[in-house]
């Protein structure tokens, strides 16, 4: 069985995030890391390989600048067998549709049985990439999977919806996004981290995927950001590291704000 996992490199959550005033894009030049939600998708694939389908090959697919190699290695260390890294300056500034077009083009080149994604990207909080990619590939899609079972060329997924729990069956090939309830991702052992660099890495350009550069990236974006403003609402967040007095300081804050009498 062949599983592809679409992963994203996101700014390190500890770094101060900033949107560029000129381009209105998130500045990605700082410390970056693998989207934490993607780790659940990788773990789900590893559990399939450890369980019902031992001959599974797990391919990590990402669209990111060339500098994202470390995040790709991170995904490989967690259980990927190989990676496809779409790195092309013309892809920079892609909106959701553009990103989906690039990922779909890379996925179409090969015949994957199952395409997994995390439930959302930690930076943009985008939770619709699975639906976009599935439609471009013209395959079934199930999102927010809390469990995945394989049988007879299909996946059976349990998912929580507004009215309770649905069990949904989709014929493979299909796209599944997994919720963070599906598993507790394991941290890779040191040898796996060391070994990731030696796994097959393929770096491809848009031209190699047959993607018309004018349909993706900033040039092909179907959405545009015309400006930025500050939302009304919450003030600054007070964040402190607990030194044994945090509970006292919190209570004093709540009393001062008259939340607690």
């Amino acid at each position: 069985m062949r599983i592809a996992i679409c992963v994203k490199e996101v700014p390190d959550p500890t770094a101060v995030k900033r949107i560029d005033d000129g381009s209105h894009r998130l500045v990605r030049s700082g410390e970056n890391t693998l989207n934490p939600y993607d780790r659940h998708a990788i773990e789900a694939a590893v559990q399939i390989k450890e369980g019902p389908a031992p001959d599974t090959e797990i391919t990590i697919v990402t669209m990111a600048p060339e500098s994202a190699g470390r995040s790709v290695d991170r995904a490989l260390a967690q259980g990927g067998d190989r990676s496809i890294h779409i790195a092309d300056e013309a892809a920079a500034g892609s909106d959701l549709l553009g990103t989906a077009r690039v990922l779909a083009a890379a996925l179409k080149r090969e015949s994957f049985d199952l395409i997994l994604l995390g439930q959302q990207a930690a930076d943009s909080e985008c939770y619709v990439m699975a639906g976009l990619v599935a439609e471009l590939l013209e395959v079934p899609c199930v999102t927010q999977a809390a469990s995945i079972e394989l049988a007879d060329g299909s996946v059976t997924v349990k998912r929580q919806v507004e009215t309770g729990y649905d069990t949904v069956k989709a014929q493979m090939p299909c796209v599944v996004s997994v919720s963070d309830a599906i598993n507790d991702p394991r941290y890779p052992p040191l040898p796996a981290i060391m070994g990731a660099k030696r796994k097959p890495h393929e770096v491809v350009t848009l031209a190699e995927l047959g993607v018309d550069a004018s349909t993706v990236g900033a040039a092909g974006a179907a959405t545009s950001v015309g400006g930025l403003s500050k939302p009304a609402g919450r003030g600054d967040t007070i964040v402190l590291e607990d030194d044994g007095t945090a509970a006292e300081q919190l209570l004093a804050f709540l009393v001062e704000k008259k939340v607690v009498a």
């Binding site: 959302q120 395959v139 939302p231």
Partner: protein, 325 residues
């Protein structure tokens, strides 16, 4: 392209309140842009009187696809229905209030139409004769003004961003249409459903909610959460992840697929703060987060955050609150 289509979701035989809120917002937007607004409803065995009543919330016409394939809550047949409606209607914009189904359906529609898509929109404005959304970003610290360069624009609004009114009691004509279903949309089927069971107290009326997430470690971690909630005279809430894991009952779940709550005080313990959780509690008066992971997104929208071990902080806080009582 002309007109605005609002995908309205049916849950339990009723049009979802979130859908009605977006329909009303679309009517205000449509008036400013000079565009009419159609409600697009997908389901099975839908009641004509309830459909016509969408006219009281701003729909000019209610266009209905009534088919058993559309009653499963699976998004892809709905993509087909929306695409069929688009062929006939030539809409300029598609809108929907985010739900598990609608977000996937409009993503699929955007991909099929080659239309730009904006998600998590919290405001809709008419600017320069076009729709320009406000899309929340960077942990709600910035609003990006997102518009479209494509001929059709698709917007998924944040759940609960637009509250519904009682409407003006008007009605609109109901027109039924037959979608063209694609093969891949029929290759995914609903094979089982369990209704959520309400077992605990109704948490939506509580003034104080103490909520637990995966960071509690296991189900026994809720013991100290219950003690803190009792000290505050409040109730206990939970995230989807711990409900799915069986640590706490569904009736306490806050978020996209749980309850929307607006207590005066919300204390999030061991909760990372995924968007599915955030949309259910962001209207809380004061938000406190206790998490050992300083990277947790919940710190972006808390008023007071403690980076530390909740097993130390929560009992201390419980004792302090009790001592005041």
């Amino acid at each position: 392209m002309a007109g605005i289509a609002v995908l309205c979701e049916v849950q339990g035989g009723e049009v979802a309140r979130g859908s009605i809120g977006v329909l009303e917002e679309a009517a205000r937007l449509g008036a400013a842009l000079g565009e009419s607004v159609d409600a697009i409803v997908c389901g099975s065995g839908l009641d004509d009187a309830k459909l016509a009543a969408l006219g009281g919330f701003g729909a000019t016409t209610v266009r209905v696809a009534d088919d058993a394939l559309l009653a499963s809550g699976i998004a892809q047949p709905v993509v087909d229905a929306c695409a069929t409606a688009q062929e006939a209607g030539g809409y300029r914009y598609w809108l929907a209030a985010a739900s598990i189904m609608t977000a996937d359906a409009l993503a699929g529609l955007a991909a099929r139409l080659g239309a730009g898509i904006v998600i998590d929109a919290v405001e809709l404005h008419a600017e320069g004769g076009a729709l320009v959304t406000r899309r929340s970003g960077l942990g709600d610290s910035v609003l990006a003004h997102c518009g479209f360069t494509s001929t059709v624009g698709v917007v998924v609004t944040r759940a609960n961003a637009f509250a519904a009114t009682d409407g003006n009691g008007g009605t609109a004509p109901v027109e039924r249409f037959a979608p063209t279903f694609r093969a891949w949309s029929q290759a995914v089927t609903l094979v089982g459903h369990e209704d959520a069971v309400e077992t605990g107290p109704d948490i939506s009326a509580a003034d104080v909610l103490v909520a637990g997430g995966r960071g509690l470690g296991d189900a026994s971690g809720f013991g100290q959460i219950e003690e803190l909630a009792t000290a505050f005279g409040g109730a206990v809430a939970a995230t989807r992840a711990v409900v799915d894991a069986g640590w706490y009952p569904y009736s306490a779940q806050v978020g996209q697929t749980g309850k929307t709550v607006t207590p005066k005080l919300y204390v999030a313990c061991g909760i990372s703060g995924a968007i599915q959780h955030k949309v259910g509690m962001q209207g809380s008066g004061t938000i406190v987060a206790i998490n050992k992971d300083k990277n947790a997104p919940i710190f972006d929208y808390a008023d007071f955050g403690i980076v530390g071990d909740l097993n130390a902080v929560v009992p201390q806080l419980t004792a302090l609150v009790k001592a005041r009582g």
